[in-house]
Every structure is written in structure tokens, then in C-alpha cells.
Symmetry: C2
Subunit: 247 residues, 2 copies
DNA sequence: AACTATCTTTGACAAATATCAAACGCATGC
DNA sequence: GCATGCGTTTGATATTTGTCAAAGATAGTT
């Protein structure tokens, strides 16, 4: 715990202000006047850096805060008694991690950085307190949680009804869409996760994921070179993923 | 719309008070004094009856309220463009339906009564307003949403990592556990849903579900007669479902 | 540059589940 | 009582994905 405290002090000395953050529109409510925004800066207590491969929190740990990803890329996963692991999500800049911990006051999954990352630490008591004061923040928090519920509904559709190639097409389209919303290319990406992690998320073995990638490559729909992917024919991907839901 | 309005009037004339409801401990926060509780009665605007097979709400419909099941049994499901359907959950007395609608102000799934049912209609603006006034209600709402996120994480584990018999064992154990919490038997139940609906929830075809039921029956773990199920060896079910998560 | 560890790709084969088809059971209405 | 319809069970077969194994690619290290 000691090293974290020291690190927090270092980071807190850097200006920590939502009102001044370029990710504001991704993780804060819109339609906010400047005064409100400045009061809202109080939700974020500190920032925290997480090295690649390190855990932001682990299952069973006491829940105190939710986290907004500032930079880097995370995965969340649950594991069963007998050691099987299920990746439940991948999170990028502007997305919120840790909502699973509210119900039992303990985290219910592991959050692991897939590359060096920085998060804004938002003690949940701050969030609740300010939510009572600012209806627009309250509504925003509810929307964030509801969005997560809807996303998981879509994943259930994917896992329950789609075959391997449909799952991968859906996955790729979702990823580039989110990257594009962050100002990155809508046709090129570098995957931050392994075939095995993709497979875990999609309910497939890594070999099946690899084969689907190769098939798309052979068909000229995408260009794949290990973790680099270029989407050549987005329409073909969308056609494969007919079972498209809006998430 | 007319018939519903008339029905609402009829139902509202019956006493609608959370403070007086025998499901209170399931769907309202605990540790509430009586005065607070009486103010909280305002969250529920009306009650509404839904006949078997009817929809409480449908995907795309404007979101105004969340619903607490008072009696009866529901399923929620999403459907894809090409008509595939995925059951995302089954809800019984005391459980909350409709949280999916908050993010986009439109419902994102269909909620269908599997038997004649009655729900408490809680306009979400009431919920938010009273949440600002009562921190204990605010916390409760957050916990309900977080619980749904955690439940869906477990379903992802089930769909992504478990085979047919494990899925069915997990499903049966979860059902009886919830029924038992409502004062019903922990060994006997009558399924409210068809094999096809179970299959949709579990990512299996109805024939596979039926075969798994038969297998459990042959092994003496359960007794099955159509929709009647008696669990003879709960420990055997738990052993099959090693990948047990606490949901 | 060579070595190592890790991730990825590909092939051959096995296992699980889906599909198709038919029979069965139970409730409903005539 | 019998016919009808819907849901369930069971069997035979097809398809998809998983498993096991080996080779290829990449990045980091010495």
C-alpha cells in the first residue's frame, strides 16, 4: 500500500480537473455550465498509474471507488472456483471500471491493465454525494450503469446465438467504432489483447479466433498481421454480423 | 392505451404502499424507519396487471418507468435484426425490470409475462428525485443496478465457459435459490418457461436442454415431469456446476 | 547475431451440440 | 370420448468448435 500512497501524492500534484480534461465529453455529463463543472472536479480524488499486466483491483477486494480510464487499455474478468476465466469486457479511455463492486461492497471481478495505463480514482461516496446535489450527474451515473447492462445484453446475444465468425466480426466492428469515437482510425487498429483474451471474451478457443482472423484475411475483408488489423471491407464485416444490435 | 388507463385507476384505488408490502424486504432498502418508508411510498405511482403472454414493455418504446414484480413471472429478451432471440433474464417477485431503458431513454429489450402478473410502476423521475433526498434509497438503486451487472457477468461465464449440463445445473440451482428466498421449496419447482426459453437463456437448443434434463433424471439427480422438477441431489448438481459464482 | 519465451498460425482428429425427423404427453375444445 | 395443437422427448446424422501437436513469427536479452 505504501508505494501507491507515494504515487498518489505525485500524481495529485499534477492538475487533476475534470473541467480541464480532454476526455470530459466521454466520461462526464454534457450540457454542464462551468461553475457546476468546477464543483464536479471533486469527484476525482487522485490519479493512479497501472503498469502493463498489473491489477487495478481484484475480485474480493473491498470496494471504495470506481475508475475512469484516462490512458491505456484494460480487461475485466471473472474466474470460477475451478480456475476457468471469462473476460467480461475491454475498457479504453473514457470508460468506467468497477461498477460491479457496488452491490456487495467488494469487487466481483479483476481489472488488469493490458498496457501501461492511468485512471482517475473516483471514490464512490463522492460520486453519490455529488449526485444528490447535481441531478445531471445523477442521471449520468445511472446512464453509465444502464449502458453497461445493455452492453452485457448484447454480449449475451453474441455468446448465445452467434457462431465464431459472427462473434469476431461483431467484436472488431465494436472495437473500431469505439476507437473512432476517440479520434482514431475507423479502419486500422492494433489489438491490445491476445488471441486467447479475445477468445475468452467471445466464448471461443484461441485457435478458433485465429482461424476466423485467417479466414477474413483470405477473403480480403481484413488485413491481419499478428495484432495489427486493417479493415478493408467494413460492409462485409457488417454483413457477417447480421445480428447487429446497437451497442 | 385506453384500457390500461382504466386498469391503472382500478388498481390505484387499491392501497399501494411499499411500507405495507410483504415484498418490501426484497425490493426496498433495509434499515429504514417508518417515516422514511412512508415518504418512499411515493416512488410507486400505480400498479399494472399483465396477462400471460403480454408485454410489459417492448424494445424501442419510450422509457419512463422501472417496474418491480409483485406477482407472476417475466422474461426479458433482445432480438437481432435477422430475428434471432436471446432471453437475457427471468424475473420473479421482488425483482426489478426496465433498467436497460435508462441509457437511451428507450427500452432495449422486451419484457413478457410468462404467467399472469402484477407490477409496481415506478416512474424513474420519482426514483431519481427521492434518491436525492434519501441516501439509503440512492444506495439501494445503485446496488440493484450493480447486482444486474454482476448477474450478467455470471451469465457470460456460463455462456462462454460451461457445457450444456453445467449450464442447466447452474440454472436450476439459481432458480431454486431465488424461489427459496421467497419462502418456497428449495427442492421442488414448476418451471414457468418452456424448454426453448431455457435454451435461449442458456445458449442451447431446446433439444439439448431436454436431453440434459433427461440425463439428470436418469442419474437420479432430479425428478422431471414436463415442467415439474424436484431436486433430489442438490449436491450432485453443485458438483456438476463447479464453476459456481456467487450470484 | 543467436537465444529464449511467448504468442500465433495451421493441420489432423475428436467431442459437443445442432439439425432434422418422428413419436409422445398433456391440455383444450368440440 | 376424440380430435387438435403445442410442447417435450428421443433417435440418427451433420456441423461446428475444441483438442492436441508442431511449426512459424516476434520481441526482448545476452
Amino acid at each position: 500500500m505504501k508505494p501507491e500512497v507515494i504515487q498518489d501524492i505525485v500524481l495529485a500534484s499534477v492538475k487533476v480537473a475534470c473541467s480541464d480534461c480532454n476526455l470530459r465529453e466521454l466520461c462526464m455529463p454534457v450540457g454542464f455550465n462551468l461553475e457546476d463543472m468546477q464543483k464536479l472536479d471533486e469527484v476525482v480524488a487522485t490519479r493512479r498509474r497501472i503498469a502493463q499486466g498489473e491489477m487495478l483491483f481484484r475480485s474480493g477486494e473491498a470496494f471504495t471507488s470506481i475508475y475512469a480510464v484516462r490512458t491505456g487499455f484494460f480487461k475485466t474478468c471473472v474466474s470460477s472456483e475451478d480456475g476457468r476465466e471469462q473476460v467480461t469486457g475491454f475498457q479504453m479511455a473514457g470508460e468506467i471500471i468497477g461498477l460491479d463492486g457496488i452491490v456487495s461492497d467488494h469487487h466481483n471481478c479483476n481489472a488488469i491493465a493490458l498496457e501501461d495505463a492511468e485512471v482517475c480514482v473516483m471514490p464512490f461516496s463522492n460520486v453519490e454525494e455529488l449526485s444528490r446535489e447535481f441531478p445531471v450527474l445523477q442521471r449520468h451515473v445511472h446512464k453509465v450503469m444502464s449502458r453497461e447492462i445493455v452492453r452485457e445484453n448484447s454480449v449475451m446475444m453474441l455468446l448465445g446465438n452467434m457462431r465464431a465468425e459472427e462473434r469476431l466480426a461483431a467484436f472488431l466492428l465494436n472495437l473500431v467504432q469505439r476507437l473512432h469515437a476517440r479520434g482514431l482510425s475507423q479502419s486500422e487498429l492494433v489489438l491490445r489483447m491476445s488471441r486467447e483474451e479475445i477468445g475468452s471474451y467471445l466464448g471461443l478457443k484461441l485457435e478458433t479466433v485465429s482461424r476466423a482472423f485467417s479466414k477474413f484475411g483470405e477473403e480480403g475483408i481484413i488485413e491481419v498481421k499478428q495484432r495489427y488489423v486493417r479493415i478493408i471491407e467494413p460492409e462485409a464485416l457488417k454483413k457477417i454480423f447480421k445480428a447487429q444490435l446497437d451497442y
